[in-house]
């Protein structure tokens, strides 16, 4: 028994550092993947994954083949080459890991609090507004509201199952903004956080690239102006010229620049009227 315990103690004494490497490496990789996945921080997440893989590979190699020299990982070797300090080299992955983790935690706290990083629509300064009760909503609007029960929620609907008027009505109850994208026969709706619609970096890129379809429009909460903000204009997806914002007093079309906001564009109106008359014949 003493012999077995002694051997186990020796093994732990000799290999404990590498087992710890594998443990921390696995933790870093998992944390990094989670940060990238949730959008809490892509770059810190990738940094953590790199450190984790470095530690995992070094720990496994050291356990399997025994340490060569001081058994440094790539990052530790780099740090040792730069500073010539072995202690600092061994501490470097931990310091980097702590730094990346802290950066990610800031973003993660935001995500947990329901505030992802990228604002894709906002309504600027607003006044006080009185929210209406749920009884204001019809059955269809109640069903949509239940599907988007919390700020930040997203849901797909059939095209005929939701309209901007529904979202505007629901916004009068919740006080949140809503954005709607249309792709084929489906609509993708995002519920915002009060007067902002925030999404993860990954989703913002997909929306901007038009992968969720055309940005049919978004609502501004009651009491907020319906002027298109700069971020609204910037968020019009590629290949789309304009979108619209619904709020108090109706809706307003907006383009990428204020100069292009033409409500009384005769050419556009002529096209629409011609299409109507062509359908009459």
């Amino acid at each position: 028994m003493d012999t077995w315990a002694g051997q186990a103690g020796d093994w732990t004494w000799n290999n404990g550092q590498d087992v710890a490497r594998i443990g921390f490496g696995t933790f870093d990789v998992a944390l990094g993947v989670s940060m990238v996945w949730t959008g809490a921080g892509t770059l810190p997440g990738i940094g953590l994954i790199a450190i984790g893989l470095d530690q995992l590979a070094t720990g496994a190699m050291n356990l399997r083949y025994g340490r060569i020299g001081q058994g440094f990982s790539i990052i530790e070797f780099g740090a040792y080459s730069a500073t010539g300090d072995a202690t600092l080299a061994i501490l470097t992955p931990g310091i980097l890991s702590l730094g990346f983790g802290s950066l990610g935690s800031l973003g993660r706290l935001g995500v947990r609090a329901g505030v992802p990083g990228v604002v894709i629509a906002g309504s600027g300064e607003g006044g006080a507004f009185g929210l209406l009760s749920l009884s204001y909503l019809g059955n269809r609007q109640l069903a949509i509201h239940r599907a988007l029960a919390e700020s930040g929620a997203t849901a797909f609907f059939l095209k005929r199952g939701v309209s901007m008027r529904d979202l505007r009505a629901i916004g009068r109850v919740t006080g949140d903004e809503y954005a709607m994208y249309t792709l084929g026969s489906r609509r993708f709706v995002i519920r915002g956080y009060a007067n902002e619609i925030r999404v993860t970096e990954v989703m913002a890129a997909a929306l901007s690239a038009g992968r969720y379809g055309r940005w049919s429009g978004h609502t501004h909460p009651p009491g907020f102006p319906i002027s298109a903000s700069t971020v609204d204009r910037w968020s019009i997806p590629l290949g789309q010229q304009r979108s619209a914002v619904w709020g108090d007093g109706g809706f307003r079309r907006f383009h990428r620049t204020p100069q292009l906001d033409k409500m009384f564009d005769e050419e556009l109106n002529r096209i629409l009227m011609r299409r109507y008359y062509a359908g009459q014949q």
Binding site: G223, Q259, D265, E266, L272, M273, Y276
Partner: protein, 119 residues
Amino acid sequence: MQANNKARSKPRMDDETAIAFASHEFVGRHPQETLPEWLARCTTVSIGKDAQRRLLVCFCVTPLSTNSSVGYFTVAIDPNTAETTVLLDCDLSEFVGETLQGFVPLTGYPWATPPVASK
């Protein structure tokens, strides 16, 4: 039956088309060159229906002070014939752009390309 089919094939006037007819009517009464450049950016549109099922298109502006929209041009449009009836047509000189929501001096957007004058 034939009449039914004909009725069914009639295009339903959507909101965009109704706005186009209303805008056409508006520009007919207020030539484009007389319109203040901020008007389009400050205008909101609300659409409803009246008792005769006509589409009511209202062009509104919203004063910053009240945050409550004020209609300046309202037109009723028959969805079947596109016949328009103007119900309200205010004098635009009553409004001051700087006091309205949506009024943004174009110089406030340094990233925006300046409008190119057409030849």
